[in-house]
């Protein structure tokens, strides 16, 4: 089902992930979140931007365990735990945050 943002149509897969990484922008992210009835706060953006940087560097989306560890290192211990990340992204931090970040579903995501 295509996603409509500001009059433009974006291709997505059957689970709502963006088909093309390069289609992503902040408005698209907000629209992807809105489709799940979620609103993006500053804390969400931190994680989303982190994921985009990680993907840029390694060409993969990190597994949850790796994400948690890396977030803790970058943003502080109070954020590098699954409780915090699940509060932000209740459908699973890697899965849901990757979706809003416009990344493919993470490898090893079951």
């Amino acid at each position: 089902m295509p996603l409509e943002v500001n009059g433009k149509s974006y291709e997505t897969d059957e689970e709502g992930y963006l088909a093309n990484l390069n289609d992503w922008n902040e408005d698209v992210a907000a629209a992807l979140a809105a489709a799940d009835d979620a609103e993006l706060t500053e804390n969400h953006w931190e994680v989303i931007n982190f994921l985009r940087e990680y993907y840029e560097e390694y060409q993969i989306a990190p597994a949850v365990r790796v994400l948690t560890k890396a977030i803790g290192k970058k943003l502080g211990k109070d954020k590098g735990n699954s409780k915090y990340l699940y509060e932000l992204f209740p459908y699973g931090p890697a899965k849901q945050a990757c979706k809003y970040a416009g990344l493919p579903k993470p490898t090893g995501c079951v």
Binding site: E57, Y58, Q59, I60, P62, A63, R65, V66, K69, A70, T107, G108
Partner: protein, 135 residues
């Protein structure tokens, strides 16, 4: 709790042209979630998978060589390179990207994950595997 097994992944093929290299890498990353002992071996044309400065611009495939440097984050830090295979191809360790990990038990010191092995050591590695996967 199930006991830990030693998984050895043999990587024998060039990175592009077949899907083996990428498939192997994906299986390793997925398997890492199960917290088994993982060893990666690069042998024959498989040593090309780790060469530096790969570019896939001409072949329209994703350049996944950057992904190898994420292995350390996944606690995959036993990576063995067959010395003879490098030599046969006129390569040295300097032609390969450097893969590292942070040692949790040593104040997160950055250490190399890579080790050059001879055929005898390789045979021993394979002999000690509980599970051997060939790619």
């Amino acid at each position: 709790m199930s006991e830990t097994k030693k998984f050895v992944y043999m990587n024998r093929k060039a990175p592009y042209g077949t899907v083996y290299a990428l498939e192997s890498l994906e299986v390793v990353l997925i398997g890492a979630a199960f917290e088994q002992e993982v060893q990666l071996v690069f042998v024959d044309d498989g040593v090309y998978q780790l060469t530096k400065n790969q570019s896939t611009d001409g072949i329209g495939m994703k350049n996944f060589s950057k992904t190898y440097s994420a292995l350390g984050d996944y606690d995959v830090n036993q990576i063995y390179i067959d010395e003879q295979s490098l030599k046969d191809r006129g390569l040295t360790m300097d032609d390969l990207q450097e893969l590292t990990y942070e040692d949790e038990d040593d104040d997160w010191a950055e250490k190399s994950s890579m080790k050059l092995v001879n055929r005898e050591q390789l045979a021993e590695l394979i002999g000690n595997a509980d599970v051997l996967l060939n790619f």
